[in-house]
């Protein structure tokens, strides 16, 4: 199992926000959508899975290991080794080239580097192509020269580099127009199926959750009572 969460609960320090989650689990290669309005705690959930925040109560197991017992260093390593992350926006270093940005995916993890099947440059080009980018055209351009849609696809290529077991994506399409949204979703789905990674995809847009193996809804009133940010 990629994720097994039992009665996870998180209370933000100083009060103000608490999140209670139903138990759920994700198998290898599975795609799960998390749907909730703004402020419902979607990003908080990803922080818990990513090991940046720790649950206040409940049990969380990642890749078969008990995550609640791990040190923060071990959690950082686990994230670096086995997860790819795509943010809502500002995913890329604007001063670095596309190649440098994608290569960062294996920069902090020896395990990720070890899983590369060939030279890193060949893999970068393969993933950029999978994400619908023309490597020759973008590889040496500065990320700041790209459109928002292109940057998100570069971020996806980076998240996929080194064959992670799980991709976590936090509303990666919210800054894109509708046409680009659909295109990004299609490319991401195809690319992750090709690499075999599981996907935990967060969105506030109910139209995007179609085709996912599971959908987790965070909007039930009992589960959250946070103020909007």
């Amino acid at each position: 199992m990629v994720i097994e969460a039992e009665d996870l609960q998180f209370v933000r320090r100083g009060g103000g926000f608490s999140l209670t989650l139903p138990s759920f689990s994700m198998a290898a290669g599975e795609a799960m959508a998390v749907l909730g309005s703004s402020g419902s705690g979607k990003s908080t959930l990803l922080d818990l899975i990513g090991g940046v925040l720790r649950p206040t109560a409940g049990r969380l197991s990642l890749f078969g290991q008990d995550a609640t017992g791990l040190s923060s260093t071990a959690l950082d390593r686990l994230r670096g080794d086995r997860m790819g992350v795509i943010f809502q926006e500002h995913n890329v270093l604007p001063f670095a080239t596309v190649r440098q940005n994608v290569a960062l995916g294996v920069r902090f993890s020896a395990a990720r580097r070890a899983r590369l099947t060939g030279p890193v440059d060949a893999e970068i080009e393969r993933l950029l192509t999978l994400m619908g980018l023309e490597p020759a055209a973008v590889l040496h351009r500065h990320a700041s020269d790209l459109s928002v849609g292109q940057r998100q696809r570069v971020a996806a290529a980076r998240a996929l580099l080194g064959a992670p077991d799980l991709i976590i994506a936090d509303e990666p399409t919210s800054a894109l127009d509708e046409g680009n949204q659909a295109r990004f979703m299609a490319l991401l789905n195809a690319a992750r199926q090709e690499t075999g990674a599981a996907l935990l995809f967060v969105t506030h847009d109910p139209r995007l959750v179609e085709g996912f193996d599971q959908v987790l809804r965070l909007d039930e009133p009992a589960q959250s009572h946070g103020e909007d940010d």
Partner: protein, 423 residues
């Protein structure tokens, strides 16, 4: 792949180049100022300590040691009492003495003091760090004849060349009617600048000095004044009976204190012996307080520049939260992010130190010629003295350490931000 991280760090730095360049410039200027002040300070002290650096012992009549030194070397204060010529001869014959030079003071030439001595003065007296006296121009004659050697400043100020005839005045006041008007002496040598009172002195031989004075009774010229140019200076009649002091060079420095003791116990007349180097160093402690204030100021400026660096690192940290969030999401440990900031601070410090050193070298190079001729300071050829190198290393260390608060803050905010790049 550590090279790729460095490339990213450089890219990140370059993306903030304007604010960073200004900070580095401020820091470099402060470093340059500090190094220059330090260099000036050392030059000033060397110049002071080295006013008569070749002289091991200064002997004069019993009286205040400091007074003797100040009067003989710096022409400051009251005239020292005289000592006998015969005492000089005894000293000159001492086995432990390598060389000895008599000094007779009291006359002046157009406001510049006249030093009566022997040509040994120019062979043995050194200035600065053991730098021998050099002639900018010389007719080849030694002053043991009737020649006059003038210091660099005197020659420049009074526009004297070789062969110029000059008159010696009795006493220091420039009273025309009291000069040895009948006895003008020719300039036979002009010294190179030394940055010491030597530049402001006029040198004649003790014998010519004595001959000039032969016609004097007290401060009144007598009817029997001699024309110094025509007298035979080899005549024992012109051996002075009294002189002001003797400069002594030792064969072995280890015998200095023995000689000093013997001088103090000298039978025929009460004498005193001073170690010029030691006494001048002690005096510098008093004289040097202004320069210490300057140094303190320079240090404060460096501190302010370093504070500016911390401010910059903390201010730009906010702009870099996205960058840090990306690294965190990819598995970078907070410690690595803190280390990255400290490394960046170290690089800033290194660049600032290097640029500052360059500024200082160019600056003192340009200032050197000016200071050399106006202030008579020898800035020396050493690029970096050990103390300066130490100060520079300390600067780089503190600069790198100033990345620590930014690193700590980055560590904290990177935990708080988690892996979200909001904004």
């Amino acid at each position: 792949m550590p090279g790729s991280m460095l490339a990213l760090a450089i890219g990140s730095v370059l993306s903030r180049r304007l604010s960073l360049a200004l900070t580095v410039l401020t820091m470099a200027l402060s470093v340059a100022l500090f190094l220059s002040v330090e260099r000036l300070r050392i030059a000033a002290r060397d110049s002071f300590d080295g006013t008569i650096s070749g002289v091991d012992v200064l002997v004069g009549a019993r009286g205040g040691e400091l007074g003797l030194l100040l009067y003989t070397v710096f022409q400051i204060g009251d005239a020292a009492p005289s000592m006998r010529w015969s005492s000089f001869e005894d000293l000159a014959e001492d086995d432990r003495v390598e060389w000895s030079v008599p000094i007779s003071l009291g006359d002046s030439h157009r406001g510049y003091r006249v030093v009566a001595t022997t040509s040994g003065f120019f062979d043995h007296v050194r200035t600065g760090r053991d730098r021998p006296l050099r002639f900018a121009a010389s007719s080849g004659e030694r002053i043991d004849d009737v020649g006059v050697v003038v210091g660099a400043w005197v020659a420049r100020d009074l526009n004297y060349g070789l062969g110029a005839l000059i008159e010696i005045q009795h006493g220091l006041a420039s009273a025309g009617d009291r000069s040895h008007q009948d006895s003008p002496l020719p300039v036979t040598g002009i010294l190179e600048p030394t940055g010491t009172p030597i530049d402001y002195s006029v040198f004649v031989s003790v014998r010519a000095f004595e001959a000039l004075h032969n016609g004097w009774r007290g401060s009144v010229p007598s009817e029997t004044a001699l024309d110094v140019l025509t007298v035979d200076l080899a005549d024992p009649a012109f051996t002075p009976s009294l002189i002001t002091a003797v400069y002594v060079g030792m064969k072995s420095k280890r015998r200095i204190f023995q000689l000093v003791e013997d001088v103090e116990d000298y039978g025929p007349e009460p004498l005193t012996a001073v170690l010029p180097g030691v006494t001048l160093s002690q005096l510098w402690v008093l004289v040097g307080s202004a320069e210490q204030a300057l140094q303190l100021l320079a240090i404060l400026i460096v501190v302010v520049a370093l504070a500016g660096q911390i401010t910059l690192l903390l201010a730009t940290l906010d702009l870099r939260r996205r960058e840090i969030a990306i690294y965190r999401a990819l598995g970078a440990q907070p410690g690595l992010i803190g280390g990255l900031l400290v490394l960046e601070a170290l690089v800033i410090g290194l660049i600032a130190a290097a640029v500052g050193l360059l500024f200082a070298i160019v600056g003192t190079g340009l200032a050197g010629s000016v200071l050399g001729s106006v202030l008579k300071l020898d800035l020396g050829a050493t690029l970096l003295t050990p103390s300066q190198a130490l100060a520079l290393a300390a600067f780089i260390g503190v600069s790198a350490a100033s990345g620590v608060p930014a690193g700590l803050l980055a560590y904290r905010t990177s935990l708080q931000d988690g892996m979200r790049a909001r904004f």
